[in-house]
């Protein structure tokens, strides 16, 4: 299976995430699309790790550990981001990002 296949799959997933961020107005769905974009990058990095392992490189595990750290950062980001969204919802009773164009009041 050629590695281009995974590249194009990752590109498609990433672009769907970009479309979601641009199209939707719901802050939670925008967050989920950001997760989708992170996962597209993770998939690409794992496929490159497999490519390097096939090529006989001994340090191909570094890419998989990088994916691991991306997951760590994504988990932390989601915790803080959902707290912020909850706070915004408590103050404005909406998660529509059009309301947030002015942060004051």
């Amino acid at each position: 299976m050629p590695v281009q296949y995974y590249i194009f799959l990752s590109i498609a997933l990433f672009c769907i995430g970009v479309m979601g961020v641009l199209m939707r107005r719901n802050a939670i769905i925008i967050f989920m699309c950001i997760e989708l974009m992170l996962n597209a990058v993770n998939l690409l990095m794992v496929s490159f790790s497999k490519m390097w392992a096939d090529a006989g490189r001994v340090d191909a595990g570094s890419a998989q550990l990088f994916v691991f750290f991306i997951m760590v950062v994504a988990a932390a980001e989601v915790a803080v981001g959902l707290a912020i969204i909850t706070m915004v919802y408590r103050n404005t009773h909406s998660v529509d990002i059009n309301i947030l164009n002015r942060l004051k009041n």
């Binding site: 997933l13 691991f68 994504a74």
Partner: protein, 156 residues
Amino acid sequence: MVLSVVALVSALGVVLSKNPVTSVLCLIVTFFTIAGHYIMMNAQFLAVVHIIVYAGAIMVLFLYVLMLMNLNADLEPQKRNWLKYAGAISGGALLVVLVAALRDASMPALSTNPTDIGLIKNLGMVLFKQYVVPFEVSSILFLSAMIGAVVIGKKE
């Protein structure tokens, strides 16, 4: 191939569905298909961690927030449709540009014979020998994220 089609369809479902809970469920399906790809590429540890962290933790967090806010009904106003079209067109343009740029790239084919680089034994050796410092820093990051979430989320 089937996994990829399911992944793309459910990713589109995340973006296009009107109900946020449906989006969350579609995103969980996408994550499981990505985990299937990880298993196919002999990254077993990452597949397990991916399912535990994303489908098990992050998506449950999303569902909890959705249920706490009672956002099952669609709250998005239907005005300003041209913004949606502009978003779709720019995302599609990005897709076209990236595919056109990488279409002619010559890449080797992935072999089907298994590699043991994704096993937890080998990854653990790399993680705790070569990447100890980022690992410890990530623990500090988690601690600060936890404190930050509690501080932001508490009622004053």
